[in-house]
Symmetry: C2
Subunit: 354 residues, 2 copies
């Protein structure tokens, strides 16, 4: 039933590349280890790129948007119409991710994987690849068909293919979709065997009773939907979202091209937890960004063995945390590449025995 | 004995400016509070600038360098000659702070407040304002005279005056000086009444016995030097450093001009703890950057009531953490200024009662 995983086969990472980057750090004009986590970050980027001194020439933020049938259960502080309205805001350049992409110097591409709205005029930054006008309400039926799930993942991998083809060597993935923290919570619960209470949070700003209702909806879906915990495709089909599927596909697609994938917050991280069930080697190609205020994010990150670099209490999505992380990736890579060595700068090294 | 504090008098901050920034956040197209600490950061910057939508046109990183007599006690993993050699590396563009200043788009100015080396040729990025060729060894005598202490502080405030005059509206302060974590630890111990063990750490990479020796030197200085804990000038004179004094002066000078001061790691933070004894209103003009790996940093930050934005395990100095924080300041200010409002973007607001 599941499509062949060879479609998303990942390259082998050569440990000698990260080791070479690690050795270079020790030669640079600074106390050993004094750049802290930026050193490990640069080594990770080197490993993924297969280049001991990686540089990034074209950065792209891909934001995937779709609607969710579960939104009709009142699981968001905002009405479902906000997904389509925010797409217009993205295309007009007024959203947070627009501001940050300008700051970071990244291209940004918006992908409509299934917004529930009338078609809109074309736009240079928009790709329309709607699977349907939103998923179905998983409180009542499967969110999507198996065919829709596969096609949604392929939308993401095709976006990755095309931006990499155009020169992208660092990709950030983000999301927009009213109701999607409920879909992501249900997916994470199904993938980890945890109850709703462990995986839900306020999302865009639900109050305590809203969060409790969300947890009950997740628990009911785990009981009522035909989920086989050993089959990630059944999880996606029963309780997933189109933009979540597409982010998973984008991560797999970029990783296949050795392009590091910066993962945004809770929704994007759950997408990569799912994608890691398709390709268990995926986490080595991912770069965490921030620790979201959404409580389930920690669980999702732990599953991937990733520790975020930023902890700013962000809970916006859109790829905003990933965009900020692009700056740290640039910093880490440039430091490794551009700093002078002790020998070049004729700076004395450590005094032995201190 | 102490110079008149009016020299560093700070402007009054009008709380209505931060409140106006806070109200604007609520109108922008994102869930309320979803930009987390970036929202509070932008409000702080607005307050300091007296502008509810501050923008930064010229960013400057000022790195103050000097030598320390205490280095002859073997308190650093590196020989004292590294201070002068690193200045050459700075001027050649090969150090970490050079790489980051290019990434951040900031000017960088290096200030020799008292390096122990022969004079070097002039350089466009260098200001020479040597108080002496290093401080004296505070294990044996006062680190500097009262007059030297005052002049070192004035070096920093003069640097702040001149870069602000040239258009700088965001200043980062950083340090270079072999032995300076020992001077900073002794200052912090004197200013807080804590024993050496609470304020020392590995600095550039001392081993455990080196750290223990450092703590003993701090305790001995607190006992043997003529420190009056109620007189910050006596603390600076007895156990301080020229670049630490200059960073304090730069922070006071920039604050007087309503220019936010981004504080780097342990050494720079101790400089601002000292400066806050001169002007208790100073912390409101400071922007913390990262949490250093140096254990005493937490104590220094707590004294100022500041919570850092980055926690990357950095322990390099040079203003490297502050340079990264410039990016977060830019991000916060631009988001506040450039994002569309719900009304402008015609995006629906919250559903009441969820």
């Amino acid at each position: 039933m599941a499509p062949p995983t060879e479609a998303y086969e990942l390259p082998r990472l050569d440990p000698s590349v990260a080791a070479e980057a690690h050795r270079r750090w020790a030669t640079l004009t600074k106390p050993e280890g004094s750049l802290g986590r930026l050193e490990e970050l640069a080594e990770r980027l080197a490993s993924i790129r297969g280049d001991p001194r990686p540089r990034f020439r074209r950065k792209t933020i891909a934001v995937f948007a779709a609607d969710h049938g579960i939104a009709s259960e009142g699981v968001s502080a905002y009405p479902a119409s906000v997904t389509a309205a925010m797409l217009e805001n993205f295309l007009a350049g007024g959203a947070a991710i627009n501001v940050l992409s300008r700051l970071v110097g990244a291209d940004v591409v918006f992908v409509d994987v299934g917004i529930d709205a009338e078609p809109r005029p074309t736009h240079a930054s928009l790709r329309v690849a709607r699977i349907a006008r939103g998923t179905r309400n998983f409180a009542r039926e499967a969110a999507m068909t198996h065919d829709e799930a596969e096609r949604a993942v392929e939308v993401g991998s095709a976006v990755a293919d095309s931006v990499v083809e155009a020169g992208t060597d660092l990709l950030a993935i983000g999301d927009m979709g009213i109701g999607n923290s409920t879909s992501a919570s249900a997916m994470l619960a199904a993938l980890t065997g945890r109850p709703g209470v462990d995986v839900v949070g306020p999302g865009t700003g639900l109050d305590a009773s809203g969060v409790a209702r969300k947890a009950r909806l997740v628990d009911a879906a785990l009981r009522d939907r035909a989920i086989d915990a050993n089959d990630p495709w059944s999880v996606l089909r029963e309780v997933g979202g189109f933009e979540i599927a597409a982010m998973a596909g984008a991560a797999l697609g970029a990783a296949a091209h050795r392009v590091p994938v910066i993962v945004d917050g809770f929704i994007a991280t759950v997408a990569t937890v799912w994608a890691s069930r398709i390709q268990p080697g995926l986490p080595a190609f991912l770069v965490p960004s921030h620790r979201s205020a959404e409580p389930g994010h920690r669980l999702a990150l732990d599953r991937l063995g990733l520790v975020p670099y930023l902890d700013l209490g962000l809970r916006l999505g859109e790829g905003t945390g990933a965009a900020l992380q692009m700056l740290l990736c640039e910093a880490a890579a440039r430091l490794l590449d551009e700093m002078a060595t002790f020998e070049e700068a004729r700076v004395a090294g450590r005094v032995r025995g201190r």
